[in-house]
Symmetry: C2
Subunit: 428 residues, 2 copies
């Protein structure tokens, strides 16, 4: 970094000492996890740059935009429709945190038996090390799981600009109505925040922007069906992670460039790992930056990840919003239709997710599925059982991993993952 | 027991050996917890009888009623409106289980990090020791917490007559609509089950029955404000527990008789514990039979429990249904209004509960509040923090207890409870 961002960080109220410590760890981890990979696509240089400037240039962009009157909206969940945020000319940034930082402080307010993702955003906030939280004009929580729903009540005490959106728990007509009324309420809130009335033209533009980003991510996902696989699971995950806070046009363009390169690789039969490397689908909880623990273990244990059934992955991006409507109401309905299909474990029943996992495993020719759940994430930890049953019934090898953000269980996880890969895959 | 219920239990498919073991433990526990108490009201003889016949006579009543064509509906939550069940001439029984039984089997399907209440009803089902589950024609689950919501999906595999009702998570107009649509859906389901159309007359009768039961329980609760306290917290809890499965008319009559007796006691200045015994309000998770662990610890540590802010207590019974409506729609609206006020920790925000706890503490002249949460019950475990903050702000001494159904922590809990009572109460 050549620019000195310290004045900006100070202005945002960051604790520079803690922030330096966090950036130091992040930099080292990125070096050892990402930059040490072999055969990376050249297009990943863009992601390397984004990551090197994740608390620098991108925050400066947010601050510059705010100086022109635009607003920044921080979110924690794929149920919050970016289309509406963009339609209000605001900037959407993902706030989920993926590092064990400030957990001791978080545990003064939250039970120890709280999932790492929640403790992490509390820890980041309490220690003033997240410029995205501090730069946000409005922060959107949601009632997805008990942990987040109840933790937000406490969070609001330290983050007064928190707004909470309700998400339904079933898929009946009354639930779709509830989701629509919540999206309408959110629209009004965004209009209040930005002073902009979200009309059909703005909404269509927002929808197109987000759809284009999704299309680029689908294109990337589809290319991973090739053998050899043209991009590592770690790199693909990073792209999905960065999707949550990068500028959407620039990001979409960069992903499409990477896809052009991957197509050439496939044509030439080039891959990031040797042909017939055992292929794994990872399914379960989202992985926020820099939670690369499990993918890193998998891809240094002789396998390659070919897909993510995750909010940071295809659960989060599947299905486009229908763009043909011409009125606000028709477009809002189209947005509701799309988001209502998300097969998150917060829904009951949630058969669609089991089907989606099986479909992805087939589509990407996975040899097995690794189900990943954050400890104390009840929806995914409990749903791991029906997922396992469904995969066993299909003859798809599977293993359940439950872990947190600590580094202590890496050895044990590696042993389990290696054994799974050795047992359930054979050279083709 | 003089009657041989074994043929009935066999017919219900119970595992007699396991069931004998369970009844043996229950009988011993009842003896040591309840019958060993001093100065009990004579009216508690009714409860002693009910408990001695809890798997006998009451089950026979259910089976006899079923033989005449009536249906039995088993429930797990105070959001399931008994008024509708009774209006369909069906019998409502509570199914929450309060004993560590069959947990090993439950943990084959559920994560170990699941609350004891859920593991317990799984354990009872898997071991075929609960005649109420086996006697039920329909079992109603609900989407209150992540644990139950997701566990019911697995439970349905072993209990196909399970029906799941959605409960909202916030208190906006859209949530009241959702609750109403769910109650209408439940009404239709009950009509299908029983073949009875729920008209206004039937609904009014169901509402009156449940209101009368509530009124008797309020009367009981109010009498506990006296000093000395005329009834132990253990006995009052038992009455609230039995409310969930006893015949409502008979139960209401028996509670009113006990209240008559308690009024006489109060007039004479008689109590179950000496005057000025330290007074405690218990607030938090429900306690299902035979989960008497914490109340027993409290009342053998020099204090008396004067109220329960709990589903099995005043959170479950507060507020009556307005009876004045004359149409099904008006009466359904009245039911929705009443249930929508329940201040369960599943709602966000849930300020009403904090107010209710403070009100109860004042009303019953509590010296302190013991917040009780089942381990891994995220809504109550997380809400314990704001509850504590609110009570500290009011100068009300409070302690947070987190436990499960095991007996292992009794010594430790007793030490903490004794210290709390000694520190925060002084002889008046």
């Amino acid at each position: 970094m050549t620019t000195d961002y310290r004045p900006m960080w100070t202005k945002l109220g960051l604790n520079l000492e803690g922030h330096d410590a966090l950036l130091g760890v992040l930099g080292q981890l990125y070096q050892s996890t990402y930059l040490s990979q072999k055969n990376r696509p050249a297009g990943m240089g863009y992601l390397d740059f984004v990551m090197s400037e994740v608390h620098g240039l991108r925050i400066k962009e947010l601050e510059d935009a705010k100086a022109t009157g635009r607003k920044v909206v921080g979110t924690f969940c794929v149920f919050v429709p970016d289309e509406l945020i963009l339609a209000a000319d605001a900037i959407s940034v993902g706030l989920c945190a993926g590092a064990e930082f400030g957990f001791e402080d978080a545990e003064k307010m939250l039970p120890r038996n709280t999932c790492s993702l929640i403790k992490s955003f509390f820890g980041f906030k309490l220690n003033k090390v997240c410029p995205y939280i501090e730069a946000s004009n409005m922060i959107v929580g949601e009632t997805t799981c008990d942990g987040k729903k109840k933790a937000y009540e406490i969070f609001k005490g330290i983050q007064p600009n928190l707004y909470v959106m309700e998400v339904p728990q079933m898929k009946g007509p009354q639930d779709k109505e509830l989701l629509k009324s919540e999206y309408m309420r959110f629209k009004v809130e965004l209009e209040k925040l930005t002073g902009i009335t979200i009309d059909a033209t703005r909404l269509k533009k927002g929808i197109a922007l987000v759809n284009n980003r999704r299309k680029a991510l689908y294109r990337l996902a589809a290319l991973r069906a090739a053998n050899p696989v043209p991009i590592s699971g770690l790199d693909a995950l990073l792209i999905n992670q960065v999707a949550f806070y990068d500028n959407p046009e620039r990001f979409t363009e960069s992903v499409n460039k990477i896809c052009d390169e991957l197509e050439q690789r496939i044509q030439k039969g080039e891959g990031v790992f040797p042909k017939n490397t055992p292929r794994v689908l990872v399914s379960g909880c989202p992985m926020a930056v820099p939670n690369w623990k499990l993918p890193s273990i998998i891809e240094t244990s002789g396998a390659v990840i070919v897909g993510e059934e995750s909010c940071v992955g295809e659960r989060g991006t599947q299905n486009l919003v229908e763009e043909s409507g011409d009125t606000v109401d028709a477009l809002m309905d189209a947005i509701v239709e799309r988001y209502f299909k998300i097969d998150c474990a917060i829904f009951t029943p949630n058969e669609a997710r089991l089907d989606h996992i099986k479909t992805l495993a087939q589509k990407y020719h996975a040899d097995g599925v690794i189900h990943y759940a954050l400890q104390f994430c009840s929806p995914y930890v409990i749903e791991a059982y029906p997922v396992e049953q469904a995969l066993i019934a299909e003859g798809i090898p599977t293993i359940r991993i439950e872990t947190d953000y600590s580094q202590e269980d890496i050895g044990q996880l590696k042993t389990r993952v290696e054994a799974f890969i050795e047992t359930h895959t054979c050279p083709k």
